[in-house]
């Protein structure tokens, strides 16, 4: 369902993460590889890559990519698209603003009542996601940022969007392990390597504000999905504290959503490792490691 909350500045924002079934979780395990020990880094290497509060530098660089999902329950689509934006940028692909609404309308089963993370990644793998700006026969169309049904955009442009999406479906996604000890090293290694993680957390009334820079994650199954774009090195048992890039603004560029309102520290907030792990048992978490574009992305093409 799409639970809505009011930010301190009065802006109403949506959530929209639905718990998958046991069957879906099992299928997912067979369809996607786990981000396994081959990719894990030593503690000293994780520290080397994240020291000096690198996450703060990255916040500045990535502030322009903060999405504002508004009141819609498209958090899954917004988180997945934010992850694709990040890995596309890391790979050096041209900046293309992808449409979370286009992805959301294909996975919400016909109403603005949220979606399942697994459905989002299956859809991305199968059919991709369109750019917001699409072009055909010399004409251009901007997919609105507040639609959740296919019939809300002209039929011919929906066809163009679906065809455009095929160019943006190639990426590599891994799932995160579900035992805490391995989860920690996997999360720390992924974020140290700048691989974003799509995860779930539970928003309650106190989730609208941070406490000393940290997200107030309520007890619950995980009604909201976000992107951890980087992490703060803390050492000790936790190793790192993931840095959340939420989808409630402030968006600098209207292509990423309404520019009014905003959450956290410029759209970001930290999680302790335990808090970050809390909803893992209910949801699959995803690591995005790379993306290519089907057409004209290779300079030799």
């Amino acid at each position: 369902m799409n639970e809505q909350f009011t930010l301190p500045d009065g802006t109403i924002v949506g959530t929209g993460n639905i718990e998958p079934t046991e069957e879906q979780l099992l299928l997912c395990k067979s369809d996607y590889r786990v981000f396994g020990e081959d990719y894990y880094l030593d503690k000293s290497d994780i520290e080397k890559l994240l020291k000096g509060d690198r996450y703060k530098e990255l916040r500045k660089q990535r502030a322009k990519f903060v999405i504002n999902q508004g009141r819609l329950g498209k958090c899954n689509a917004s988180a997945a698209v934010a992850g694709l934006h990040q890995i596309r940028e890391s790979a050096g692909l041209p900046t293309k603003v992808l449409s979370d609404c286009h992805l959301y309308m294909k996975i919400n089963r016909g109403s603005d009542s949220g979606s399942i993370l697994i459905d989002g990644f299956n859809e991305l793998k199968k059919a991709g996601v369109s750019t917001r700006r699409i072009e055909f026969a010399g004409k251009s169309y901007l997919i609105p940022d507040n639609v959740h049904l296919k019939r809300q955009i002209p039929r011919e442009w929906l066809d163009v969007a679906n065809k455009t999406a095929l160019e943006y479906k190639t990426f590599e996604a891994f799932t995160l392990p579900d035992d805490y000890a391995t989860f920690k090293i996997a999360v720390a290694s992924a974020l140290a390597r700048d691989y974003p993680i799509v995860f779930a957390w539970h928003v309650g009334a106190n989730g609208m504000r941070l406490s000393n820079g940290y997200v107030n994650n309520a007890r619950g199954v995980g009604n909201h999905a976000n992107l951890a774009h980087s992490a703060k090195w803390v050492g000790g048992e936790d190793l790192v504290h993931p840095d959340d890039q939420n989808s409630w603004g402030p968006s600098v560029d209207p292509m990423y959503g309404p520019t009014s309102g905003g959450w956290g520290e410029g759209g970001f907030g930290l999680f302790t490792m335990e808090s970050f792990f809390r909803c893992r048992r209910n949801h699959m978490f995803w690591v995005l490691v790379g993306a290519t574009q089907e057409k004209s992305a290779n300079p030799l093409a």
Binding site: D42, K48, L93, A192, P299
Partner: protein, 170 residues
């Protein structure tokens, strides 16, 4: 610079061929006229030679007699950053922390140089042509390929060849 250097060159230039020994009886006027003419020819010759030399070293291709030949000698190695794509190929599965730092370094460098940057896992389809080019150059990943107009023009070991690349990119 050229004008200042000419009189000295003239003074020091042997005028033997012009001062012909069988013409000592020429009148002063005749001798002066001949000498002036010879000096004029010599100045013309020297000015021409000096302009060519000057332009060659400055890389002014408009006044170079054989532009293609001179470009080979002076500009062949230069790489225009803005028109090039720098492609980093690495091995994803064995990517170490140092290589991660290397990529960051390279990305920052690309931004400073205002050139395009791409990276591919060495096992991806996209990486194949780059790997082939690198193997020809005796390199293995990680390496950096420079692409211009859809062609691989150079392959560098990164970071070993960084200094060489720095000298070449403008």
């Amino acid at each position: 610079m050229i004008k200042l250097s000419l009189p000295e060159q003239i003074k020091t230039e042997p005028l033997g061929p012009i001062k012909q020994p069988e013409q000592p009886k020429f009148s002063d006027h005749g001798f002066v006229a001949l000498l002036s003419g010879a000096i004029g020819l010599l100045i013309g010759f020297l000015v021409g030679v000096n302009f060519q030399s000057f332009d060659f070293f400055q890389g002014d291709q408009e006044s170079i007699v054989d532009p293609d030949n001179d470009r080979k000698e002076s500009n062949a190695d230069k790489i225009e950053a803005t028109d090039s794509v720098f492609v980093f190929v690495y091995e994803f599965q064995t990517k170490t922390a140092d290589q991660e730092l290397l990529v960051r370094d390279l990305r920052a460098w690309s931004e400073i140089k205002k050139c395009k940057f791409r990276q591919f896992d060495q096992d991806s389809e996209d990486a194949k042509p780059y790997k082939a080019a690198a193997e020809k150059a005796g390199l293995k990943s990680p390496f950096l390929a420079v692409v211009r107009n859809g062609k691989i023009v150079r392959v560098f070991d990164w970071p070993r060849d960084r200094e060489a690349l720095e000298r070449l990119v403008r």
